[in-house]
Symmetry: C2
Subunit: 255 residues, 2 copies
């Protein structure tokens, strides 16, 4: 039997430890190919590169894995994989990550990792974004690996609805065992920004983004609540941003 083709990407860049961990798990399921950014692309959301040409360079990161680094965003990586590198082959699955840091709740819209997975879902490729709730470069990806294996095998065997992606976040409290896995909704939340302001060596003012995450959702079935309780959160997500609840009430606007 031919092994399924699995595309791996991320937003922390092709050299990040998180993508290495994900490649190791993905290799147990199929033929792994990697197309990932040549530099960190955190917070790039669904950005695409329009005004510049893109570059792809083959790189050697594992003896059994074909890999390319790309000068563009995570979404560019998926587009190039689908339309240039593997246009004549079926990509059975796209996995993105493992992100260093949470992409739960509102973070999904800022995340290059999840936007890459969403782009794959637009191409009808089943896709999953994985994130570990630890920003450190030397984060411990080991405890999450068997769960990632379980999720990949579930998706390869049972599939997910076309046009959907899974947003998977893995808790990372020191000494805490992962309790299990919950399928949940995206918590309503936002960031309260607190810019660091300063003056650069040339005497010019600058503003540097920082901030605090605020969960505004007290419902029990959210990703934030699952993670707080030590569970892995899985949010089925999609690209339809229509607010259906408001559709009817806004009809009075029609002319």
């Amino acid at each position: 039997m031919k092994r399924p083709l699995i595309l791996v990407t991320n937003d922390d860049g092709i050299g990040a430890p998180g993508i290495k961990a994900l490649i190791e798990v993905a290799m147990t399921f199929g033929e792994v190919v990697v197309v990932a950014p040549d530099s960190p692309q955190s917070g790039k959301g669904h950005a695409i590169t329009i005004e510049q040409p893109l570059r792809l360079h083959p790189v050697k990161i594992h003896p059994e894995v074909q890999a390319w680094e790309c000068s563009g965003t995570p979404v560019d990586c998926v587009k190039l994989a689908k339309n240039i590198l593997f246009k004549d082959r079926e990509i059975a699955l796209c996995v993105s990550g493992i992100n260093h840091g949470s992409n739960a709740a509102i973070n999904i819209i800022y995340s290059g990792t999840l936007s890459a997975a969403m782009e794959a879902s637009l191409e009808k490729i089943p896709s999953i974004g994985f994130s570990l709730l630890d920003f450190n470069w030397d984060a411990d990806f080991e405890p999450g690996k068997e769960w990632i294996s379980y999720i990949i095998s579930f998706v390869l065997e049972k599939g997910i609805p076309s046009g959907s992606l899974l947003n998977v976040n893995i808790p990372a409290k020191k000494g805490q065992v992962i309790q299990g896995l919950k399928v949940c909704k995206q918590a309503n939340s936002r960031w309260v920004e607190e810019y660091v302001t300063g003056t650069d060596p040339r005497g010019q003012s600058y503003y540097w983004l920082t901030g605090k995450f605020i969960n505004e959702d007290e419902d029990e079935d959210t990703d934030i609540k699952a993670l707080q309780a030590g569970y892995i959160s899985v949010v089925p997500s999609h690209h339809d941003l229509t607010n259906y609840k408001s559709l009817a009430s806004l009809k009075i606007m029609e002319k």
Copy 2:
């Protein structure tokens, strides 16, 4: 009575004709302030700038309007307006655009214009993204102006549900009168990419994004159908990407 504070931004850059047209309309409703990118930011989606400091420079674009150009993305512009420039004042409305080109259907997720409006909606600021279906720099924004006026006055008087934004697209067929306004859902659609490939002056290969828009949604109540019939489309949109239809069926994944 104090005039409402209206924040104007865009993704084509502070020098684009589209933002000028939007400022002119917004000025008839309140005190207009502008924070917009210093360079074109089309296709930047919900990108934020994390790894670099941001700059804000006051610029003179109209005698009655305070304006700043920003070195970041459209979303950065909204964050800086809310958290630095106007942290002590209530922003009554954020309008983004007028974008040169469509942001209907799937384009919303790639669009800096709409991502700026979404960021404002996360800050509980009623917000609207406006786009004209004409990519040209010298596009004719005049026929849409009275409709933009109507939509702004509707939102200022009646409000929109908290956390929502309106994605407004304006048809632009030469010689065709705008038929009216429809409140609709985002059409299910995607881009089929066709990269232009070539070799640069240094002999290196490059890939340059181009593509073809594909509407895969035959429903009658979509933004694409409204625009094709000559109507302005208004899609109430939000930041909750949960695919609620798939939540129940994926519960079998829980452990």
